[in-house]
């Protein structure tokens, strides 16, 4: 499968065309994104850097189909997200793997149940989900901890559960919002290794917002944002 992915011609998965998002701050319009153009191809590993308020999270929300742009287009595999209705957006989100800074696991569910949840939402049967969830937890190295609830897991472990969950529905790409932003540096190192391995060995496309220079250093491309604009792009 790895070989196949390498041999397959790179296709454009995400494309932002003159993407603009304006919020009303009281009565003053604020451009969180100001005509951003960006292209992400399959197998890519993109890191978005920038200070707070530079529009990174807004960009991530738009790419994740959690929000709609004010102007411009966001295409996911060629489909304009703003033409989709709520149900179609929900369907699309099932194929996007979200990883959040604060993990966002459901506290009352065990690690395995959390991974199963996204598959349950996608309509998979119990037996199938269970097996797949166990395999994924194996991949992130948490198989022996799968029956623990989030409160019984460390930050690094919780984030690995979140990554397993993000991978569960065979996503088009992983969308990570500061994945190491809330865990200690040793655990962060493990997470960085895991993310890199997923990209290199499993050819998972990754789009990531981060402050972590160490993590950004592993990315194939780094995009620097400031005041809603992409000000610099570096290819590692």
């Amino acid at each position: 499968m790895d070989e196949e992915a390498e041999m397959a011609p790179a296709t454009t998965i995400v494309e932002a065309v003159n993407l603009k998002k304006t919020y009303m701050l009281g009565k003053v319009p604020v451009n969180a994104l100001d005509r951003v153009n960006l292209k992400v191809e399959s197998g890519d590993f993109l890191a978005v850097l920038g200070p707070s308020g530079s529009g990174k999270s807004t960009l991530l929300n738009l790419i994740g189909a959690l929000d709609k742009p004010t102007e411009g287009k966001l295409l996911i595999e060629g489909v304009d997200v703003s033409t989709l209705n709520d149900d179609q957006l929900a369907d699309l989100r099932r194929r996007i793997g979200f990883v959040f800074q604060f993990f966002n696991l459901i506290p009352r569910f065990t690690a395995r149940e959390n991974v199963e949840l996204s598959m349950a939402i996608a309509g998979f049967g119990k037996a199938e989900r269970r097996k797949h969830a166990e395999d994924l937890l194996e991949t992130v190295g948490l198989r022996e901890r799968m029956n623990h609830r989030p409160t019984e897991l460390s930050g690094g472990e919780q984030q690995r559960v979140a990554i397993a969950r993000a991978l569960s529905n065979n996503p088009k790409f992983l969308l990570m919002d500061e994945p190491t932003g809330n865990i200690d540096s040793k655990a962060a190192g493990e997470i960085i290794g895991l993310i890199k391995r997923l990209n290199e060995e499993k050819a998972v496309t990754i789009i990531m917002v981060t402050h972590d220079q160490r993590l950004a250093g592993q990315a194939k491309r780094i995009v620097q944002m400031l005041d809603g604009l992409i000000v610099q792009e570096v290819v590692n």
């Binding site: 959690l66 929000d67 929900a90 996204s118």
Partner: protein, 433 residues
């Protein structure tokens, strides 16, 4: 998302807030229990009364009494003197006129007065009823039956027949009187000034077997029967309280035609009540009572519904972030709606089921208290109602209705919070702290 996954997700959310869910459920339990208890007692009461009325009930009979217009309940057997404003009097010999009408098989007059019967220095207040023994026995062939002695077909004036409770008023082996005893019959004639006590010695020739009913229609356990001719002379009147008409059959058409014919024969000066009409009036009365009681109970369920709405809104606030996660994972708005509704319906179902059970228990406890106290429907001899017991009746209709009502209220009141949850924007929900 599969239905069973929605269900188990909802369950897991309820389990997380056991106390709160428990208290909400309690609200539903109380509402449903109140409805079930009240309705099953009322229905039990209705069944008991109907049952008693039907004891020895002759569906092919009409009761004619004086008084145009009101075909009132009980106007037949226990009505008053029968004089109306127009001065019309229902006389004993009018039976001949009625007998000549089509569809009428036979008819007989009844004269009755409140009186007393005395034996061995003990006095009982009774209703003294003058009837033609042979005719009465043929119309009420299942209830006007002797347990001891024989009912004479051509009685002598002093012969009397007593009901079971007249003979054995204390519900034990001690008898007030029995066959061949001579008792003193008396009534107070208040038409003279001063009123005088009329008396004569009556000879008990038969004791009826126990009937059970109220005796609103037909023979009763607490009446004393004397020959109609004796009643005429003893009470000094030709006027009767009512005339019982036996029809050829109990078809509705026969009943209607005969009713019209009798009314026409007496220029609408009489009221004609069919036995079935009495039952239908009774059932109407009970419908109103049930609606009223059910309505009161429904208010408590309404309060429970508001409780459900309240808890679902609180739950919505608490779980805003969770809803954001679910939406980010690709859950559709309608599935979120379903999860919230499902939580509420589970509460409604559990509450409904427990409510039906506890309502049933409550109804039985109330019935037991009634029976034990006895003051209302049983035991009181002078009331002479024949010791009725209420057995609460829980019909499948009431059970299903209660459950549907409980679940329906839960679902309706959860609709708004569930709808709000389904409309949450994922970005905002995820940002919610």
């Amino acid at each position: 998302m599969k239905a069973q996954d929605v269900l188990s997700y909802s369950f897991s959310a309820i389990k997380l807030r056991k106390l709160r869910a428990g208290l909400t459920t309690l609200g539903v339990v109380i509402g449903i229990a109140a409805i079930v208890a009240l309705l099953s007692i009322t229905q039990g009461l209705q069944a008991a009364i109907t049952d008693q009325l039907k004891t020895g009930f002759a569906t092919d009979t009409l009761i004619v009494s004086a008084g145009g217009g009101f075909g009132g309940f009980g106007a037949g057997a226990q009505g008053g003197a029968g004089a109306t404003n127009s001065g019309f009097k229902l006389l004993v010999n009018y039976t001949q006129m009625i007998n000549n009408l089509t569809n009428v098989e036979t008819s007989m007059a009844i004269i009755q007065r409140v009186g007393r019967i005395e034996f061995n220095q003990t006095v009982q207040n009774v209703t003294i009823v003058g009837v033609d023994f042979a005719e009465y026995a043929s119309i009420y062939s299942s209830t006007f039956v002797a347990e001891n002695g024989t009912i004479p077909t051509n009685p002598e004036n002093e012969m009397i027949v007593v009901g079971k409770r007249v003979s054995a008023p204390w519900n034990n082996d001690t008898l007030f009187c029995s066959v061949n005893d001579t008792v003193e019959m008396s009534w107070t004639n208040a038409t003279t000034i001063p009123p005088i006590n009329e008396t004569y010695p009556g000879k008990v020739t038969a004791v009826l077997k126990e009937i059970g009913g109220f005796g609103i229609i037909g023979p009763s356990d607490s009446d004393v029967y004397i020959p109609i001719s004796q009643a005429q002379s003893f009470f000094g009147t030709e006027e009767c309280n009512s005339i019982i008409v036996k029809l050829a059959n109990d078809d509705q058409a026969t009943i209607d035609n005969a009713t019209q014919a009798i009314k026409a024969a007496f220029s609408n000066e009489v009221s004609v009540t069919s036995a079935t009409a009495v039952l239908s009036i009774l059932s109407n009365v009970f419908s109103v009572i049930q609606l009223f009681l059910g309505g009161i109970a429904a208010i408590s369920l309404l309060v429970a519904g508001i409780g459900i709405m309240n808890i679902m809104i609180v739950s919505l606030m608490e779980r805003t972030r969770e809803i954001g996660i679910l939406k980010a994972l690709g859950m559709k708005g309608q599935t979120v709606l379903l999860i919230f509704l499902c939580e509420s319906v589970i509460i409604g179902l559990i509450g409904g089921a427990i409510g039906i059970g506890s309502g049933w228990v409550l109804a039985n406890v109330v019935a037991l208290v009634f029976r034990g106290g006895g003051g209302v429907f049983g035991g009181n001899r002078t009331a002479n109602t024949g010791g009725m017991t209420i057995t609460p009746l829980l019909t499948p209709t009431v059970t299903i209705l209660a459950l549907v009502f409980g679940v329906g209220v839960s679902a309706i009141f959860a609709l708004y919070p569930a709808w709000r949850a389904s409309k949450l924007k994922p970005v905002e929900a995820l940002r919610y702290e």
